[in-house]
Amino acid sequence: MLGYTLRRVAGTVPVLFMVSLLIFALVQLAPGDPVDMLVSDEATEEVRLAIRSAWGLDQPIYVQYLTFVKNAVMGDFGQSFRYREPVMDLILERLPASLELAIYSTLVAVAIGLPLGVWAASRPNSLVDTLGSIGGFFGISLPNFWLGILLILLFAGTFNLLPSGGRETWGLNVERVTGFLTIDAIIAGRWDALWDALRHLTLPVIVLGTNMTGIIMQITRASVLENLQEDYVMTARAKGMSGRVVLWRHAFRNALIAVITIIGLEFGTLISGAIIVETVFAWPGIGYLLLQGISFRDFPLITGLVLVYTTLFVLINLAIDMIYTVVDPRIRLG
């Protein structure tokens, strides 16, 4: 197991290295001179040259790339053009907001999608099953930014029940410990702040979780159905086990492998969905930061964020691989 884990971890290194090369190439291909973004239009040639050498832009390309990789490995993505702060600090400051949103969305999607999928599989072609399949098609066809706008229109506008954006009401002043507002509020014993954080989370979580709920439900249904047709299920039934035990202890448990895989794959969709959802709801996470970086052509910030996102994605997929070697030892041996 340890050997397998180490091999898999080592396997991600060249991939991440190539990813960095690809991003570096994109930055090089970008039109315009980065110095233009750093100095005013009236700057003299000496100032421009000084800036160029201060940012290392006068070095040969390969030196620039090696410096970039060396710094990136240490977690240093340079200074943001716009905020004049280290990119890593900006990212770390906003990362908890994004993680909180992503984690709650995943939990909600699993909590709804999994039981619904098993339910639909236990009654194939029933009303629940048909509704579920229609819902699934709606879910994958619904652009999440539009769903977000409609929910804002209804719940923040017409009914005035929930906030239309942001993460907290200004002035609550809860001490930051974890950066997760719901957890910080509980630590501080501030129930008003917890309620406030949950109200702000509601709409973004619905939007981000909808698509994933539909997909988890479909995969769960398909894979439970497949397992219900296996011989061992028939054996279990023949032994006189109740339908519920067969469903949950046998078919469901074996179906979990497919479900875990899809949750891992969907995490990528969740990341790109979060970029859009954070923009729609002005959620102060790294997705929103990325869009701001793009509108100011803040290259160090964009580069840093893309690397962080991709690394996270690669690591999550690695973790998922590890999880199913535990769930299904056949994968490790094969």
Partner: protein, 284 residues
């Protein structure tokens, strides 16, 4: 014989409510895109601040209302169908050609070529979906060509995997070795034996890729990363609508509805095709 009964089954399936709905929607959309100048009641870019933010009117000239600068919503939606379809078709074709070519080469020749292509695929696949597209537009700038490349940047992968798997198995089949021993060149074998066997599966991949391409294009337009803002697009219209959400619901409702119905129709068509053309893909 088998073929004709299969065709009959497919035609039958297209007459089901699912199939009929998707064909009607796609047909209407093609008509709207083709005859936009004839169908649109107004110039989609004509601004008239006196008429700004008019609600939809059943009998008036602005059936779906007007936007924040007084442009006719109906006309912009009709013209918007052109951009969405044009980009989606271009992306699907471009990624299809690239993906199938790389996949067939990878599977047919194997060895170093194969491992180089698979390594490249792995790197591109390491990016979360849409992030690579966003990065390409962010660094290289906005424009139709760049947008198409950006949206195709990861969409060629499913075709590549499919084509590689197919080429790997076909390579060992008797009719291929027979053709080879008769002196057929690699190019001829690929063209006449391997590609035709791929077309059905590739068509199904293409249908779903089309649906995701439309969503991705409108997402990028919504984020302000699509085609230049003056061109009417559904995603761009939604981006405009955000600022006026409390006063002008119609600006947000109709363009989104168009995206949703279009994508739904394409997904349903893909499902019908998948069920009837390729039972192997059916399990997923």
């Amino acid at each position: 014989m088998a073929r004709s009964s299969k065709t009959r089954q497919l035609l039958q399936a297209l007459k089901s409510p699912k199939g009929a709905f998707s064909l009607v929607v796609i047909g209407l959309l093609l008509l709207a895109a083709a005859f936009a100048p004839l169908l649109a009641p107004f110039d989609p870019n004509r601004q008239d601040l006196m008429l700004a933010m008019m609600p939809p009117q059943l009998t008036g000239p602005h059936f779906l209302g007007t936007d924040h600068v007084g442009r006719d919503m109906m006309s912009r939606i009709i013209y918007g169908s052109r951009v969405s379809l044009l980009i989606a078709v271009a992306v699907v074709l471009f990624s299809g050609v690239v993906g199938v070519t790389l996949g067939v080469v990878s599977g047919y020749y194997g060895g170093r070529v194969d491992s180089a292509i698979q390594k490249f695929l792995e790197v591109v696949w390491a990016f979360p979906p849409l992030l690579l597209a966003i990065s390409i537009v962010a660094f290289l700038g906005q424009g139709l060509g760049i947008l198409i490349v950006a949206l195709a940047s990861q969409r060629w992968i499913p075709y590549c995997r499919l084509a590689r798997a197919e080429a790997l198995t076909l390579r060992e089949r008797e009719f291929v070795s027979a053709a080879r021993s008769l002196g057929a060149s690699d190019g001829r074998i690929l063209r006449t034996h391997i590609l035709p066997n791929l077309i059905q599966s590739a068509l199904i991949v293409a249908t779903f890729a089309m649906a995701t391409a439309i969503i991705a294009e409108s997402s990028l337009s919504f984020l302000g990363l699509g085609v230049p803002a003056s061109t009417p697009t559904w995603g761009g219209m939604l981006s405009d609508a955000r600022a006026y959400i409390s006063t002008s619901w119609w600006m947000a409702l109709f363009p989104g509805l168009c995206i949703f119905v279009t994508v739904l129709a394409i997904n349903l068509l893909g499902d019908v095709l998948r069920t009837h053309l390729d039972p192997r893909l059916n399990r997923a």
